[in-house]
């Protein structure tokens, strides 16, 4: 594992257009460059020293456990950009497949270095459960939760279903006749559909859920008029809602969303379901407490920065920054809840 800053960009190059030249094993130069950046960047001396001490001239490596283009890939690459001024150039690499469990199984074999990070989220929690993955998030050090993307229940624009109550009515009558299109089997959309079914007293295993490889594919099944309803991440389908191609019935957040002020929450509609497709970052198991603290501080300060806030705005992600014991408690709670609903669906 040679990551001794060989491929590290000169951080001072950030101000110039184009990629900087590579700096080859010049630790003193890197230190000088970091200090130069410190003059411009909005950060305290303490922070800079911390990040510097943590990395010790090495490059941060960030695994996106998914193919390019998906939510984890986007998160990893936005992190790469937002961290640039703090730790120089970070490397992002993709290990896709099976809801992130393939990436995870590779990740847990890495040495316990604080420079090796991985993006994770609710979908991985679900995939570990439904794939009976031999490795779990317990074999990592959870650092922070950063973003959320809420789910929205939609129907085609010409559907007779007008409200969540109509849909619930149909599901109570004959749950098999209500086809619900969404993303991959066992993913956050199916979990949402299962939670709704459980809440209205139906059997989650009976939900006629039509799985797709992604939100885009699910949307075509919905637009072709073959499916009764669809479940999708809000940011994936906002444009089609705005254009009136699909009608949004309810969102899965606790409060109404700024982007969809007209759309009620499931809670408002009398369905006791609240679910966020959250994403966060983990480090390898076995890193020291000081390193863990330093990484959490680094990421939380980044989450506070105007640049990150602008990223959230642009992507349509919710701010869900949470670190330390609170995040670990949240993770345990989510693991239990998701495990339960996937068991009910028959995927656990």
């Amino acid at each position: 594992m040679d990551s001794t800053g060989r491929d590290m960009d000169e951080p001072g190059a950030a101000a110039r257009p184009g990629p900087g030249r590579l700096v080859r094993s010049l630790a003193p130069f890197v230190t000088a460059a970091l200090a130069t950046v410190g003059l411009f960047a909005v950060q305290t001396d303490g922070e800079r020293a911390q990040a510097q001490e943590l990395l010790d001239g090495r490059q941060l490596r960030l695994m996106a456990p998914a193919e390019p283009g998906g939510g984890w890939d986007q998160t990893a690459r936005e992190l790469q950009a937002a961290l640039r001024d703090r730790v120089g150039r970070a490397e992002v690499y993709n290990v896709g497949g099976a809801g992130g469990t393939i990436g995870l199984s590779q990740y847990v074999r890495l040495p316990p270095e604080p420079t090796e990070l991985m993006v994770t989220g609710l979908i991985m929690v679900g995939a570990i459960e439904s794939n009976d993955s031999p490795v779990t998030l317990e074999q990592t050090t959870p650092l922070v939760r950063l973003t959320t993307d809420y789910e929205v229940i939609v129907v085609p624009a010409d559907s007779p279903v007008q409200t969540t109550a109509d849909l619930v009515e149909l599901m109570r009558e004959d749950i098999g006749a209500v086809s619900i299109a969404g993303g991959s089997a066992g993913g956050v959309e199916q979990i949402t559909a299962g939670l709704i079914a459980a809440d209205i007293g139906a059997d989650p295993a009976e939900v006629n859920y039509i799985a797709h490889s992604g939100g885009g594919e699910a949307l075509t099944t919905l637009l072709s008029g073959r499916a009764t309803a669809g479940v999708s991440g809000v940011s994936e389908i906002q444009a089609q809602i705005d254009a009136g191609q699909v009608r949004a019935l309810a969102v899965s957040s606790a409060e109404r969303l700024p982007g969809l002020p007209e759309v009620p929450t499931l809670l408002e509609e009398g369905v006791d379901v609240e679910l966020a497709n959250w994403r966060g970052v983990v480090a390898p198991a076995g890193i020291s407490d000081e390193d863990e603290q330093a990484l959490e501080d680094l990421l939380m300060e980044m989450a506070d920065s105007p640049q990150w806030q602008e990223t959230l705005q642009r992507r349509g992600w919710g701010d869900a920054a949470l670190a330390g014991p609170e995040f670990e408690a949240f993770l345990a709670e989510e693991t239990a809840r998701v495990g339960q609903v996937l068991d009910d669906i028959g995927l656990g």
Binding site: V95, I102, N208, I210, H212, T220
Partner: protein
């Protein structure tokens, strides 16, 4: 015609020195990554994305579009010369193209691929300019039952790929279908044929299968049988494309485009399916049917046009309804979003000028690709003068590197080499490998769509013929099944008549074939 006016404005914006340079950079990078098996445009754009945050949106989108089109061009080069497809959509080009290269017609194969790509790319882009709303409407009408019919049509037509022995072809197809089953079942979430190996949970990447079956199988066979010193005559004759080549290529280019653009525009159509359809269509229509399998130029011209037209088609649902239908399109969507643009119904009204600049640069990129590729055709073909041991060593290195770069795990390499051995067995048994790749690509698509359709109808098979579109497609399938029979009957009659008087019609034809 305000589209025309907007397009002209787009050209005016795209033809700045800076943007032209970005387009050139894009098509060059695209051609290179297209040549390398495993490393595709999707990964390249994703890697470049963070570097372009400081670039203005128009320039970086122009570069990405160049990479995308360039990737489609580059894929055919290794396919034809080395029988090593850079991506699955150029697999069909290897069938006839490599045979042509072996016969000293590599330059002609490359030229018809390059010009065909240009023609198809340009017509596809014109289609994108003027027909986008219509194609988007067609795409939205395609639900699971329609896809089932489309897949059935593809399966019926791939019989053209099965080769001389039906049994061997079918065996190869079944091997492909079995490989396609590996991994998590998309509908139920259950793992199949994974043997408890986590690396197999996500199935086997089509690119790995293509590289293993074509490149490794061939290399291993050389190890067993070849001397390692043989070379092929790179270029025979003066003209790269003879008049006869032109005459046989251009209808194939147009037919390939007509198949590629609309199917590429379908959300689950992709670029592979139209290449299969195009190949079978050319084989059916060709007057030189006996040359198929031995290096028929139509068999390169049609599929190459089809995959480039499909590349333009893929942009239709992306730009009009915000639907990414391929990995590269998904990454380009991400690029749009990172500049605060939301592709979708409002894109044309909200960010019109930028979009028209992008479309204009697609035309420009296409011209650049032709200028870049055509003069190089003879140079590329000269690669074949390298002795076989050098070529195959390079093929091994590139296949291994490319697979490792795309998957990033050691397990992928084990799968790659294991499948290479399967390919060797197939070759030793004289069974064609193309049907296996067809099985890997079409099998999971057909299964998923059929199960989705039946889930939507709660098990009622009537759903499969529930719309005018499905009925039309099933009628086409019946025709595709019956037409060869009817054709054989009529041709049998004609041939009997022809053989009666000793008029050497066929002799004239075969003479023409040789130039």
């Amino acid at each position: 015609m305000d589209q025309l006016g907007a397009l002209m404005q787009g050209f005016a914006d795209a033809v700045t020195l800076g943007n032209l340079v970005w387009a050139l950079v894009g098509v060059t990078i695209g051609t290179v990554v297209g040549v390398l098996p495993g490393i595709g445009p999707a990964l390249t754009v994703a890697m470049l994305l963070p570097l372009t945050f400081r670039l203005d949106p128009a320039s970086s989108l122009i570069m990405f579009a160049g990479i995308y089109y360039g990737g489609m061009y580059g894929g055919s080069t290794t396919s034809i010369l080395l029988n090593t497809p850079g991506e699955s959509a150029s697999m069909v080009s290897a069938l006839e193209g490599n045979k042509m290269a072996r016969a000293g017609r590599g330059a002609a194969a490359l030229a018809t691929a390059a010009i065909g790509s240009f023609v198809a790319g340009t017509i596809g882009t014109i289609g994108l300019t003027f027909l986008a709303p219509a194609v988007a409407e067609l795409a939205v009408g395609f639900g699971p039952p329609e896809y089932v019919a489309l897949m059935a049509l593809s399966f019926v037509t791939v019989s053209a790929l099965l080769g001389r022995s039906l049994v061997k072809g079918a065996a190869s197809l079944l091997i492909g279908l079995a490989i396609g089953l590996v991994g998590i079942d998309a509908q139920s979430g259950q793992a199949r044929l994974d043997f408890g190996v986590p690396a197999l949970l996500d199935g086997i990447d089509v690119v790995v299968v293509v590289v293993a079956l074509f490149a490794l199988g061939e290399t291993f066979e050389r190890l067993l049988r070849g001397t390692g010193r043989e070379t092929v005559e790179p270029v025979r004759g003066r003209a790269v494309l003879s008049r006869e080549d032109w005459r046989r290529s251009w209808p194939a280019w147009l037919r390939g485009t007509a198949l590629g653009f609309p199917i590429g525009g379908l959300p689950a159509g992709g670029a592979d399916v139209p290449t299969f359809l195009s190949y079978s269509l050319e084989r059916r229509l060709s007057k030189h049917r006996s040359q198929f399998g031995k290096g028929a130029i139509e068999g390169v011209a049609g599929p190459e046009a089809a995959n480039n037209a499909a590349a333009a088609g893929v942009l239709v649902p992306l730009l009009t309804i915000g639907l990414p239908t391929s990995a590269t399109a998904a990454v380009i969507l991400t690029a749009f979003q990172s500049y605060g643009l939301q592709p979708g119904p409002q894109l044309f009204t909200e960010s019109g000028p930028l979009l028209w600049t992008l479309i204009a640069s697609l035309y420009i990129g296409n011209v650049m690709l032709l200028v870049l590729n055509l003069p190089l055709v003879r140079l590329w073909a000269r690669l074949l003068t390298i002795p076989a041991y050098g070529i195959y060593a390079a093929v091994l290195v590139f296949s291994t590197l490319g697979t490792f770069a795309s998957g990033g795990t050691f397990d992928d390499l084990i799968v790659l080499y294991a499948l290479g051995l399967v390919a060797l067995v197939l070759r030793l048994a004289d069974a064609p490998v193309a049907p296996a790749v067809v099985g890997v690509i079409l099998g999971p698509l057909a299964e998923t769509q059929l199960r989705r359709a039946l889930a939507l109808s709660q098990g009622d098979p009537a759903v499969l013929v529930s719309s005018p579109l499905t009925v039309t497609l099933w009628v086409l399938i019946v025709l595709a099944l019956l037409a060869p029979l009817a054709w054989r009957l009529t041709r049998g009659v004609r041939e009997r008549r022809r053989t009666a008087p000793p008029v050497p019609v066929t002799a004239v034809e075969s003479q023409a074939d040789q130039d």
